[in-house]
Symmetry: C2
Subunit: 230 residues, 2 copies
Amino acid sequence: MINTPVEIKYQQLQAKLGYQFKDQGLLKQALSHRSVGAHNNERLEFLGDAILGLTVAEALYQLMPNVDEGVLSRTRSNLVCEATLAEIAEGWSLGECLILGQGEIKSGGHRKPSILSDAVEALIAAISLDDKLETAQHCVRRWYDDRLKVIQPLDRVKDAKSQLQEWVQKSQVELPLYEIVDTKGADHQREFVVKCVVPKKLPNGVLGEGSSRRKAEQAAAEAALNKLRK
Amino acid sequence: MINTPVEIKYQQLQAKLGYQFKDQGLLKQALSHRSVGAHNNERLEFLGDAILGLTVAEALYQLMPNVDEGVLSRTRSNLVCEATLAEIAEGWSLGECLILGQGEIKSGGHRKPSILSDAVEALIAAISLDDKLETAQHCVRRWYDDRLKVIQPLDRVKDAKSQLQEWVQKSQVELPLYEIVDTKGADHQREFVVKCVVPKKLPNGVLGEGSSRRKAEQAAAEAALNKLRK
């Protein structure tokens, strides 16, 4: 039996994924962008997104026993965002295996982060359906191994306010100022809006919201850090 | 050994959950609102939310083989929203078991949907940690059994545009009009903004966004339905 170039590509991909599909149809569906028509990976992506979200949540819950749910949630967002997933996809040369419609081929769909990231999520679901949830979770943990290893363990993870304070001290500007500018919502679901001003750097301030003053300040500090790092 | 009233309450709750905790400390943590201090259920809620999201996603993926990911996603949102979780909690009289700080006790925290719903998510994570993920998923499926049974199977689920059309026909007004009012983002991540006008009912129209014209129209139709049903 002679393998076609396409089959060789799929074999190489499965070697990189560390998973050999029993049902090659599922693999192909996971690689099919909606531009090819009805038999595409959008439903798989919906399921894969949930498996990924849970698997990373479980890992972080164990790796970071002393941080609050806000830090867990933000750390997870970074790990499951389009950019991270596209990076993982590029490590597998996944773009070469994508099945795209003519329009997407012409507009460089093989390199689009959104298409690559959706296909990674679809692959996760496809593995779960081809074998079982545990197998898909095992693959995800392996793919994320390097990224999870560098997670700052325990309480060494600095909160955003501390990070911002360090940043301004390095930059020799004055310390950031926090001020509640608004409170919204009924008594039992109060939302605080805090403005964080960094003198000379962000004189107009940036806003953060949260269900407590502390959380709103952290959110504002994070927004300020994001602006300053750009 | 004589059981205290509190212990009896916890025994009754566990009977309703269909799960007996090996580590009663985990059960208590899941019931502890942040108003009691550091040892609260917020981290568990983060994890439980992900388990719930995946479990309902898996169930819907199987129950609705012919709908697109937009319908899957909206159906899941309804099933995992605060109101649904609070309803489940009320079925267990969960309010009586919550551990709250003084302020929350005074302001009726035992009946707050947000606190009840967070505790349900925390309980899901606590079961997973006390035993294993599979057990937590099994419980979730049992708790959702009645709600999943009534899911419209297959393609009988109507999309929002068809539902809106039916609604206006019953109300004897003219058919809704859809118009693209804006497109945003770079070529490869285009976002469409569509206005849906229902003559005489929503003359100013309501907006919907999506990554394709079709999706934006569905989103606008859904927003229109929500307004009209109020």
